[in-house]
Symmetry: C2
Subunit: 360 residues, 2 copies
């Protein structure tokens, strides 16, 4: 059973990756947190599938737990749902030693994490990611936040979890589209730091798409291990950590332009990875990325959008310093660089490609 | 000119305490922060008195600055004003290297600090306290937050400033009632760690009330130095720092019971300090505290409230663990203890005294 240790400024924590892990949530949490009052935050879909199991496991371990159920979807990452979680915590009489358990995908993790970061100036957080995307990305590293009318994740905090529990059984119940969207982040890890993983995805594409259990443990663990290494060295995203944003400058702009409705986050990232491939100026690399992305059933372009408007939207992103976008640029499969040199021509070709696909 | 250095997990920062300091705000900020985009957050009263001077000083030092003006009063520490600050920051195109300048009293400092803590997961913050209370307490130590219907400061974050600029000239323009309210926190510092300061306040009471300038530099610097020592050793309020909450358990309950309308924060704390004096079980200490508090023109009781209801309200405070209130108890003038033993009789007498004044 893979258990990965993550070091952080607020102490180390473990990521347990295994089928049936939710059944052991209570026992694991008992050792990781101080208090015994838990508020499980989840969405309507996940509540139906895994809510009972999570609450039972917590109760068996001596936690008094209650569940806050939110609507599903990106639009839940909004100030008013943050406020409603604060109200839930008040009703639960959650003190400083209470714990927030985020049971769900990235939306639940980011929102519940932000609530934990800000309740009583920060209480314990346990992440229980139930989507592939949340397992390999959102649940580890301490980024939390909500969207504002002006942009995605504009308000938020760094708040490391005390424990991450990734139950691989939850992947079985994941809708096909969401599962594939999660694979985009897996492709990203291959591109930024694990050429072997990238090659593995190319070779075992069908088995990965079919969610073969043994395979998934390996894939998730490799992604988490990579992320853990990066965030241990740059918890606050001073520089190095930005490499994890490969493709996201494009992706976030596409999500904003389509008002977070047309694409899942991972789908927008998939398009962004292809655009980042263009930035590299390396046709062969660009081709491999595009072939893998489309081969996994993910989109490689956001048809019908205006590339110039997307570029302007990206200018209001957090990664911007003094008006200039700092791109993450692939050097080769397995290596990317933050803020590398990008010619104006390649930059404009990349934004064109984000909308039209391959370069003309 | 007193300059006090504060150490914190996010780096050291200086507290400059002097008349005319706002004129040097820009020059000081230039050395303390990275970016040159500043959003000055203030309230309508302070904007009129000091807004121009602050903006000019920032502009002279090369900052592009704009001002966000909020209504004055405790009710501004609310989710909707946090949201409106987020909107201001979005309009200012504030990136990760923008800086929030909190120009005002504790309300402005707490709210603007929380906005800085959460914008882009944390940007630079400069505190420019313009009230005695904010100078000696709120501006140093990194506590930020807002009130919720369920209680005071329930949502917030620890976010240390990069710089604190305390302009003693602002004290001259402070309304009498607010100035006196600030003295309550000064009395607190005497009680928890500086018997000399307490004695000084007793002896020089009239000069202190008259705001003699030379005297104020000394008083403010002593309080800040004491707070800096405490928060350097316990930034996240794991234990020691709680000593700074002397009187606040009572004070917060009184503020909540009167819906933050009848008393200024410092006035409620003054009542709380007298009640804490009762907790000590030492009649002489209790008497000295009450004499000083009333001698400074501060209230020592919240007439007409129900002591039992106050006690229940206090039970929903952050300092509560497993339902039991952890009081800060004075041992002698100059020393207090966190979570010391309190008999049920003294506890109930203290809550009675918070409403009725001296014990029967």
């Amino acid at each position: 059973m893979p258990v990965i240790r993550v070091t952080s400024s607020s102490g180390p924590y473990s990521v347990t990756i295994t089928p049936g892990a939710i059944g052991r949530l209570g026992a694991l949490a008992r050792r990781a947190v101080r208090g015994r009052t838990a508020v499980v935050v989840t969405d309507v879909h996940v509540a139906r599938l895994w809510g009972r199991a999570a609450l039972d496991s917590l109760a068996d371990a001596g936690f008094s737990g209650r569940m806050a159920v939110l609507p599903a979807g990106e639009e839940t990452k909004a100030p008013r749902f943050l406020e409603s979680l604060w109200s839930e915590l008040a009703e639960a009489k959650a003190g400083r030693d209470a714990v927030v358990v985020a049971l769900g995908g990235g939306v639940v993790g980011d929102l519940a994490g932000f609530a934990a970061a800000t309740w009583n100036r920060g209480i314990d957080l346990v992440q229980v990611p139930t989507t592939l995307l949340a397992m390999v990305d959102a649940s580890v590293g301490g980024k939390t936040g909500i969207n504002l009318p002006a942009g995605k994740n504009l308000a938020g905090a760094f708040h490391q979890p005390r424990l991450v529990v990734a139950d691989l059984d939850t992947l079985k119940t994941l809708p096909e589209r969401e599962y594939r969207a999660g694979l985009a982040e897996v492709v990203k890890y291959g591109m930024i730091g694990d050429a072997g993983l990238f090659g593995f995805l190319e070779k075992r594409r069908d088995a990965v798409v079919a969610r073969e259990p043994g395979l998934m443990a390996e894939v998730v663990a490799r992604c988490v291990a990579h992320k853990a290494r990066v965030v241990a060295r740059d918890e606050r995203e001073a520089g190095l950590r930005m490499v994890l944003n490969l493709g996201h400058t494009f992706g976030h702009a596409i999500e904003a332009a389509t008002r977070y409705r047309r694409y899942l986050h991972g789908e927008a990232v998939a398009i962004g990875l292809c655009a980042a491939g263009v930035l590299s100026g390396d046709r062969a690399l660009e081709g491999r990325v595009r072939a893998l992305v489309t081969g996994l059933g993910l989109p490689d372009r956001a048809k019908g959008l205006d590339p110039r408007k997307l570029r302007v939207l990206a200018g209001s992103d957090k990664k911007v310093r003094a008006g200039r976008i700092r791109y993450v640029v692939p050097v080769r499969i397995g290596l990317a660089r933050v803020g590398g040199m990008v010619s104006a021509r390649l930059e404009s070709e990349a934004w064109e490609a984000a909308v039209r696909g391959t370069r003309v």
